[in-house]
Symmetry: C2
Subunit: 177 residues, 2 copies
Amino acid sequence: MGELVVLRIGHRPGRDDRMTTHVGLTARALGADRFVLASNDGRPLTTIDDVTERFGGPFTTDLVENAGAFLNEWAGMIVHLTMYGLPIQDQLPRLRERCPPGCDLAIVVGAEKVPFSVYELADWNLAVTNQPHSEVASLAIMLDRYSDGTALDEDFIDATHRVVPQAAGKRVERTQE
Amino acid sequence: MGELVVLRIGHRPGRDDRMTTHVGLTARALGADRFVLASNDGRPLTTIDDVTERFGGPFTTDLVENAGAFLNEWAGMIVHLTMYGLPIQDQLPRLRERCPPGCDLAIVVGAEKVPFSVYELADWNLAVTNQPHSEVASLAIMLDRYSDGTALDEDFIDATHRVVPQAAGKRVERTQE
């Protein structure tokens, strides 16, 4: 099996902490194997690792200094999510053909400004609508659609806590000490 | 035609501004008609209204003081997105049967703590996975799936700017003065 990695670039420490945490948690919840943050500040990773500890994995996080170096070394496919790209709904059949779920895929998610080199390094620049909205929303729809919907049925192992779905209210079970 | 409204509750001014803006922009991009923020601070609405002005609508925003009062007056269906709810993939066929796209639907999106009354007021408490991740991700997948994918093909009118999809790079056209 290959690896499904989400790479967060352009993170501004402090200002982007919550957004970046949400990107990482979305990656984990929707079937990615690893979240890589390109930054010199790994604080958002702590929250994500804590969630993995409680709600299960496997899911890992990494901090890299240089996004370009990471992408240059990456041997699999690269999809960059951007509102300027080609409509995901048109391109997905071809992407799934060239890189079916289970192949090595890096999904790059930017913050405000993304350097042009990333557009060039990507095999696909894909837009989840060509409207300005949210990198978290784009990533969620990308993962859901790329997995053909199975992302929502992901299993997690080694959890200490598990949510028990309820029609109304909250129920969290402890699965182990 | 009914109205598709996204209601953001539990917004903490300052701390949640960006998250709330992303919720609103996601609502707009993915086919909602209106974004309602329950708060005494409407700052996040400015950014959303600016985007509508540039990239088109129709899309409106409203500030309400009391989320409970809004929901009590709402005559349509109410879906509350929460990690504690029932799996969206199981419930969606029944929701679409009782409230097909085009019916009056309010989608409630919380921040940290959601009062129990909201769970009770909702016709459905739905989970986009029972994992902790992001209200923006949940809303995106809810809107995409509820629309049966047509949310990504939404048309916008009265735009002054339009993104022209590119395989690499950025292109924004001015459509009118």
